[in-house]
């Protein structure tokens, strides 16, 4: 076993352990903090696999933004310190589904690769990723960016009730009234 294997195993153990804690803990905010550990361990695994840029993207987007947003929302609504015993969580079905999917995927991957050895690719530098993304993968990249853009526009429309509701009201003459009260 090389140092890379050992590191991967250790980081994997951290990731799985903290992921289990995320769903098992009774402390709401701590669940979010365990998620940080889990995603951080995942970023560490990318680093070990020499995908530097992806690792730091993971930290920037997931740890720095997504989890923070999640914690922010939890703290704005309900974030008691200490255990919340009134959480209703169907424990057994979740454990069954989670464990089943995990074991199934693991069995599938183990069966697919057996003892094949895969050499680590060259370091995932920004230059290489740029060449790939804007070279052979440029079409999916553009399609994805259009998808993201439409999701952004959709989010703005959803979060502003005045955009959607004004159209039917102007038809029956209530639009002017609304405009005046504002």
């Amino acid at each position: 076993m090389t140092a890379v294997d050992a590191l991967l195993l250790a980081l994997g153990a951290v990731a799985v352990g903290s992921a289990v804690l995320v769903v098992a803990t009774r402390h709401l905010v701590r669940a979010g903090l365990y998620l940080v550990v889990c995603l951080g361990a995942l970023a560490g695994m990318y680093l070990v696999l020499s995908a530097e840029l992806v690792a730091w993207v993971q930290v920037l987007i997931y740890v720095g933004a997504v989890v923070v947003l999640l914690l922010f929302a939890v703290m704005l609504t309900r974030a008691p310190i200490g255990a919340s015993d009134d959480l209703d969580r169907p424990g057994w079905p979740a454990a069954l589904i989670g464990g089943g999917v995990g074991l199934g995927l693991a069995a599938l991957l183990v069966d697919a690769y057996r003892w094949t050895k895969v050499e680590l690719p060259d370091a995932g530098t920004a230059e290489r990723i740029g060449e790939q993304v804007f070279g052979s993968w440029v079409l999916p990249f553009e399609v994805l960016s259009v998808l993201l853009l439409s999701a952004l526009v959709g989010a703005i429309v959803l979060s502003r009730p005045d955009i959607g509701s004004s159209a039917p009201k102007t038809r029956d003459g209530a639009g002017q009234e609304r405009g005046a009260t504002r």
Binding site: R30, V57, G64, L71, F72, M75, I81, A126
Partner: protein, 320 residues
């Protein structure tokens, strides 16, 4: 030189910078603020113009009792100061001081790394705010998180503009590609980056999260002793990191009037000191922004400016 020795020297150098530069900035803040307000500032500690004031402060903080409120979430509360400090320490690792690899750890995606780890600082704010079990702390923390999430965007966009201009994400690479006329070309990005950086380290006029007249001391309220000192230290390391990043990205880093190869480190330090001085100056001269003004500035001024700068940078790059 064997590998381990080089490693020890590099890490040791970064550690020394981490411990010394924030103290220098702190002392400069004491004296500069005092003189701008027509006072003397610390004059006794150490004898000559109170040079040892911060050391005395440090001794005082160590002696103070380390209190954790009984209602607090103990482990999270105690962990938060470390989470606040470590990102800045990591950021210092990749900031180049001079040419020829005079940097803690040369990294191909250095710029990205710095932005990613500095972004983790928000977590410390949320952790300390929530775990304190104090309404003022929580309010301050929520303000801080909203501010940091918002200002992350112009910060990254402005940095992306320089990366585009230089054609690299490596910090030494950006300094090498830098030319004096970029001062003009990248000026909007520089202003956006500097302002967003100020907000990112929660310095006045962006100190809404710790506004002492309404929130006691925001998310720092419940902290005492050494942990409070660590959180305070994080703020001053933050000044050094933001000043150093502004220097490296927009002011040409080690490029000076002469002898870049030998005196590069001096030019970098001088520029960092100058930017730090401006940060202190702003604290003395501007009143605190209100929460809505703060968000308005971010989304209606800084983000559009940064986007326009990106367009400009792209146009010039294509034209050249």
């Amino acid at each position: 030189m064997p590998l381990w020795l080089e490693l020890v020297i590099r890490v040791g150098g970064v550690l020394v910078a981490f411990l010394v530069l924030p103290l220098l900035v702190g002392q400069a803040e004491h004296k500069v603020m005092a003189h701008m307000q027509g006072r003397l500032g610390p004059m006794y500690a150490g004898g000559f113009h109170g040079w040892a004031q911060l050391i005395a402060d440090g001794v005082k903080f160590v002696q103070k009792e380390d209190i954790t409120p009984s209602a607090a979430d103990r482990p999270v509360f105690r962990l938060a100061p470390a989470v606040a400090l470590v990102p800045y320490l990591l950021a210092l690792l990749v900031i180049p001081l001079g040419p020829n690899d005079l940097v803690g750890q040369p990294l191909d995606v250095g710029l990205f790394f710095v932005l990613a780890v500095v972004g983790v600082g928000v977590l410390a704010v949320l952790m300390s705010a929530w775990a304190s079990a104090n309404k003022y702390s929580l309010l301050g923390g929520l303000r801080g998180a909203a501010q940091l999430l918002g200002y992350e965007l112009p910060l990254v966009l402005a940095a992306a503009s320089v990366a585009m201009a230089a054609g690299t994400l490596s910090l030494p690479g950006i300094v090498e590609a830098w030319q004096p006329w970029w001062l003009l070309w990248q000026a909007p990005a520089m202003v956006v980056f500097f302002v967003a950086g100020l907000a990112e380290i929660r310095r006045p006029p962006f100190d809404m999260p710790v506004a002492d007249s309404e929130l006691v001391f925001g998310y720092l309220t419940e902290y005492t002793g050494l942990r409070f000192a660590f959180l305070l230290l994080a703020e001053y390391v933050g000044i050094v990191v933001i000043a150093a990043l502004t220097t490296v990205l927009f002011l040409g880093g080690w490029q000076g009037p002469f002898a870049d190869a030998q005196l590069g480190w001096l030019w970098t330090l001088l520029k960092v000191a100058a930017v730090s001085f401006v940060i202190i100056w702003l604290r003395v001269s501007y009143p605190r922004l209100r929460e809505d003004q703060l968000q308005r500035l971010c989304w209606l001024v800084l983000v559009p400016t940064a986007l326009a700068q990106l367009v400009l940078t792209a146009a010039v790059r294509v034209a050249m």
